[in-house]
Symmetry: C2
Subunit: 351 residues, 2 copies
């Protein structure tokens, strides 16, 4: 007997009707056997309908019967407390719970003793696996103790090559962002980076490499003066945008390597009396839900697919953590189109 | 034997020297026996020094010896995934770890079956207590099972009056915000609320009550047309600010009941060509770290003391959860002064 109630009377047919799909689709999606056979939208619709109707999978029925759920440990540095990466937890949490497992999260704040105690405790409680996650993409030293369970490195890469890792596809994102502005007709495209290319940040080096590839593919010679190093904060965007626009030949478009940098750029352009997108076009990176859609005009940006990456980490664990391989699975960052890119104004060259 | 290393050689004297306080102060602060004898700043300095020097308290030494830490459960609706409330977890986490306890967090996303399974599992693992937290301040129905352990309701109030609760002092915050603008010389002060006063949101009703009290105390008759109902989002601030400023006698100051509403108001005023603070003064609420300091000019606002509230929740649990009382402890929201308030321009009345 458990303290919490019985399964609801909702059937798989009810979920299928509400989601507008077949019962077979519901079964495949909810039992995690669908792979990529269905679109993300279909899968989302099925999960939403199941959630709204209170439908319980077999995994949930087992939890309800046994009273105690299996656990997956989630150890993050600042994932739970940083304002941006919550969707990683949301994705991992929802996928774990679909399998009838609880996601127990510890936010270590970078404290190595706390991290060690957390892992030790999780292992002693026989977690089914551990997600080792970072707030931003980097190369991590992963604690040896993780070799004792299925483990996966999330939003970073395991430097030792022992564990499967899941990370965003930075280079392709930088390429896509830059190509969007090239396709709109821009040729003088600046980039405000979030760190130096040699700083060890895959986001800084990867997005810059993609920027260069897109320019070169379009036959545009990259000018070193148009690549500026910010710090990933709003003020880094503000200061660098002011500097770029004071150039005798200012850019007509700017790739801001994250959304906070783009926000600072919006504020600098407003101060200069320049409009977006007509005077200057912008593309950001991250698709921060609290920022990108609320800028005026809405920011065209690349999405960090945190929800999907979080879900995928759990799937890797459920498949046994692919214990024999330390390969990295890269997730494409899709372009989210809003209103910050337009064709350039006709420019009279000053030469 | 445990897998993670030995205690460092740092002594309490080292911490005292680094923090610039006496050894007795370090001892009282780190053992949680200091109460409110020392300022928050002193306590912060001691904790920072201990953290930087890798100093281990007795509680940490015990964890290191035993290998497995005691646990406190933290069940939140969206606290870990919402972009704003992470400091609640940060505060609870750091206070728990000072006592040698791990904070295990489950983010339920509002799913009641997941919540029940989480609590059941936490209880079966003999957690020392449970923090039951909400993303925003409201009156909660708390699950009965929490009566079996020390429990505390965080950032909300227990509707049944059984459990100790910790919540922000909304009315005083609204009063302080409004008084700041009155003291600067404003008389025509609008408020853009984050919901209807009767919506059941303590933040909406409380902050409005404080606004009214400050006006009445200053002998200013509150005009119903100056109180507008937004939705807590940027667009609610934008639309309502445009409407307010189209009044034949627009306000000279606006109390925005949260920072996101203030952000929308900044965008509306910019569109109208009005400057902050010279044309219109603003005060926000929340002190969102990713927003308030980065607006131009920086937003004067009230801080939700999430770090302190999170720490206090753990202290209540460590004291046994005050099992016999369901009182609510209210935390004052301090004014954070930046640059969005100035004296009003001399106005020529249109009457």
């Amino acid at each position: 007997m458990t303290r919490f109630g019985r399964s609801s009377g909702t059937t798989m047919n009810d979920v299928a009707a509400a989601a507008g799909v077949s019962q077979a689709t519901v079964s495949l999606v909810l039992n995690g056997a669908a792979g990529t056979r269905f679109s993300e939208e279909t899968r989302r619709r099925v999960h939403d309908a199941a959630h709204e109707l209170g439908y319980r999978t077999n995994a949930h029925a087992k939890v309800l019967r046994d009273g105690v759920a299996g656990m997956i440990g989630f150890v993050g540095d600042f994932v739970a407390t940083a304002p941006f990466a919550g969707k990683i937890i949301e994705g991992a949490q929802s996928r774990a719970w679909e399998a009838g497992l609880l996601l127990l999260t510890v936010n270590t704040g970078g404290d190595k003793a706390l991290e060690a105690a957390s892992l030790e405790t999780m292992l002693s409680y026989k977690v089914a696996g551990v997600v080792y996650a970072a707030m931003y993409h980097r190369v991590l030293e992963v604690p040896d103790v993780l070799a004792e369970v299925p483990a996966v490195v999330l939003n970073s890469r395991d430097g030792s090559g022992r564990f499967p890792s899941i990370a965003p596809e930075e280079e392709l994102g930088g390429y896509t962002a830059t190509k969007r502005m090239l396709d709109a007709g821009h040729r003088r495209i600046a980039m405000i980076n979030i760190g130096a290319v040699d700083s060890g940040l895959p986001a800084a080096s990867g997005r810059y490499a993609g920027y260069l590839r897109a320019l070169e593919e379009a036959g545009v010679h990259p000018e070193p003066g148009l690549h500026r190093i910010g710090d990933g904060h709003e003020s880094g965007g503000f200061d660098n945008a002011l500097a770029l626009m004071s150039d005798p030949q200012p850019p007509t478009a700017i790739f801001c390597a994250n959304d906070r940098t783009a926000w600072g750029t919006y504020q600098a352009l407003a101060q200069l009396g320049l409009s977006i997108p007509h005077d200057v076009s912008l593309v950001g990176f991250d698709n921060q839900e609290t920022l990108a859609p609320h800028l005026r005009p809405g920011l065209t940006t690349l999405e960090l697919p945190f929800l999907e990456m979080g879900r995928r980490a759990i799937e890797v664990l459920l498949a046994g953590g692919e214990r024999d391989g330390g390969n990295t699975e890269y997730f494409e960052c899709p372009l989210v189109e809003r209103h910050s890119v337009a064709a350039p104004l006709k420019v009279t060259s000053s030469h």
